[in-house]
């Protein structure tokens, strides 16, 4: 914890600047990114539409009509993952110490969980696309892909929403 510094000279420019600085809060997690949240909300609905259209299973003969949808989703999730991971994570001695006590020998901050979830979403749709192309999808495979997408989307959306503080 930093040493407290007093400011003097009420009414001075320096005093005003320091007064404004005194309102700065401690930051332990990445900043909220509204553009990222908007993108996530939009891609969420596109993903659910594609999954709903494949609900009864797919035939590889019709893959050509679905391919652009898959590619668009994979591209958007990859882009959002990069956007999420590009934010700086505040380094903090207190949290690093807690992580060391918990058994993490590096004490380093973990990856941003929404960036991981978004990357996994891109990989999930890539696997779904490739399987659809090669042999089509059974209804239960579509259900399993949907289940996986819902879980990762919930992780990404909940974490990003929590950053709005």
């Amino acid at each position: 914890m930093g040493i407290l510094k007093c400011l003097t000279g009420k009414g001075s420019v320096l005093g005003l600047v320091l007064l404004l600085l005194s309102g700065c809060a401690t930051q332990l997690a990445p900043l909220y990114d509204k553009a990222l949240m908007d993108g996530l909300t939009a891609v969420n609905s596109s993903a659910m539409e594609l999954l709903a259209s494949a609900e009864g299973g797919t035939d590889k003969a019709g893959f050509g009509t679905r391919e652009p949808g898959y590619n668009q989703l994979i591209g958007r999730f990859d882009a959002l993952s990069l956007q999420s991971a590009a934010r700086p994570v505040p380094s903090n001695d207190v949290l690093a110490d807690v992580r060391k006590i918990a058994g993490d020998k590096t004490g380093q901050a973990p990856a941003i969980p929404s960036a991981t979830a978004l990357n996994k979403l891109a990989r999930t749709f890539a696997m779904m696309r490739d399987t659809d192309k090669a042999q089509g999808l059974t209804p239960l495979e579509v259900k399993a892909f949907r289940g996986q997408v819902v879980i990762y989307l919930d992780q990404a959306l909940t974490y990003e929403a929590a950053l709005k503080r």
Partner: protein, 119 residues
Amino acid sequence: MAAIDINQLLTSIKTATNQVLNQDIATIKGFSDRQLKDIGQQAITVAEGITTGQITEATRDFFLNSLKDMVKNFLATLEGLVVVTIEKLWNAMVGAIWGAINGAISAATGLVLPLPTQA
């Protein structure tokens, strides 16, 4: 120098931290409940698919590995949510404490103490 009213200070700290805790615990509990239910359901779907042959060899390993990855990132997300809560609690507490100190000393001395930060 104006005296700090200890009861008033304690009430300010309690109000600020309770507000954070009530809201964030509800968020974390709701998230945990949804994830546990969805991950459990996903395990049932994958097991059923492997048993009936509807989850084919092409996707079996992918879904099994994904279950492990989803659990791992669920825990990482929980940790991330807790860190955000700790941040809010820290800021709420030092805001109340330093607010009381500044309220007591600034009129007489012209001093305004900046909030301490965790580093």
